[in-house]
């Protein structure tokens, strides 16, 4: 079925408690026709990689506002690669300075969405770039 929904994991790595953005995005992507797995606050990189593996998602969306993105995000992409999930599209959002985007891109984060990004921009990007499997 080529028109099956794209499956997205929305996860919040790290210790900050600000999950409003992640929840709004999860709900917004649901309304855009995505199947969204939401795992909640304070996820370790291991929890995120395990969920991505078991759920066989097409996309992992990481929301982080704690400032620990340069530590946590490369750790997550590394674990995903180790699990053989290198075909999963990984994106990030939250408070991430422009200066860090290049390094994150080299670590395997395909796109960083900054404040002010609309749901439909995210949805459009995922539809264009995710590679749903059969």
């Amino acid at each position: 079925m080529p028109d099956r929904p794209i499956k997205v994991l929305i996860a919040k790595p790290g210790l900050d408690g600000h999950d409003r953005g992640a929840k709004v995005l999860a709900r917004g992507l649901r309304d855009e026709g995505f199947e969204v797995v939401y795992t909640g606050l304070r996820q370790t990189p291991e929890m995120i990689a395990t969920a991505a593996l078991q759920e066989d998602v097409d996309v992992v969306g990481l929301s982080i506002l704690s400032g620990a993105h340069m530590t946590l995000l490369p750790r997550i992409t590394k674990l995903l690669r180790e699990e053989g999930l290198d075909d999963v599209l990984v994106t990030a959002g939250g408070i991430i300075p422009d200066d860090d985007v290049q390094a994150l891109s080299e670590a395997g984060i395909a796109r960083v969405f900054g404040p002010g990004t609309t749901i439909s921009e995210v949805a459009e990007y995922l539809r264009t770039n995710a590679r749903p499997r059969d």
Binding site: P5, Y38, T39, T50, Q54, E55, D56
Partner: protein
Amino acid sequence: MSGSAEATAPATRAHDLVVAAQDGDRRALARLLTAVENRSALAEPALRELYPQAGAAHIVGITGPPGAGKSTLVAALIGEVRKAGRAVAVVAVDPSSPITGGALLGDRVRMQSYAGDRDVFIRSMAARGHAGGLASTTGAATAVLDAAGFDLILVETVGTGQSEVEVAAAADTTVVLEAPEMGDEVQAIKAGLLEVADLVVVNKGDKPGAQRTAAQLRAMLVAGAGPAVGAERGSNPRRPKRPEILITTASTGDGVPELLAALDRHRSAVAAGPTAAARLARADALVWAIVADRLRGRLREPELAISTDETLARVADHRLDPYAAADELLANLRTKSDG
């Protein structure tokens, strides 16, 4: 999967995934579940290979109204099962939007603490328009997990109302979860969900009214019910079940060891009897769904598709009744296989 996977025949790719999954490769298992859920070309060859190797797992359905604590109870059960060293899988179903087809699958939130444990496998499923409390492919997904060697498979339904009883056919043991003070005794004697329960669990046992709710359920459900599982069936095998009634507080784990013990007792009782009604119902649902798919597929093949559409159009215009239309479609099939 290598880069040349796309060129390989589905049967070969399915076989490779099946072998890997049974060898403990969790990514291969996850891919098989996706294939089954999407009814991809891999699904049929994979299930043909896996089905004969399934049947050993205990499949437990957990159902009840939204907010009764299904996910929290599943998380607590996982912990209890792991203490005994048994491998456990979860299939957690959440509803799909009837408008957009999207879904928010949030059951994992309460089950995330088992990430490092490879004998715990949790999979969320969107119902994708199926109305019985499960997805149409949930039964096939449990067969995959069963063949992959999980001893216990917990199937969590969408939050249900009074009549989503499909889980009773999908599971060997059906647990209906209730929260305290959700209704009076008359709710307990209405037909529907409570009739298919093998175990009724009053969760949130630390809330006022839990004991009273359990006592009411006990009085109303046990009185007049059929014989206990494993006992001789009386003259009316269609009598409702006689469920055991337990109290748990899933958030603290109170009552969860007793629930697991009750599940194990029910498993043994069912295993000691003749082929369980639930397993026959599951076989019935699986096979008839495939028969319907195959019939539909043949009626949509190029040489029949035009006449099929034409028949359906006449029904839509009320120029033909639906029974005559069904006879016409079946006759077309017969003509085709004769010719």
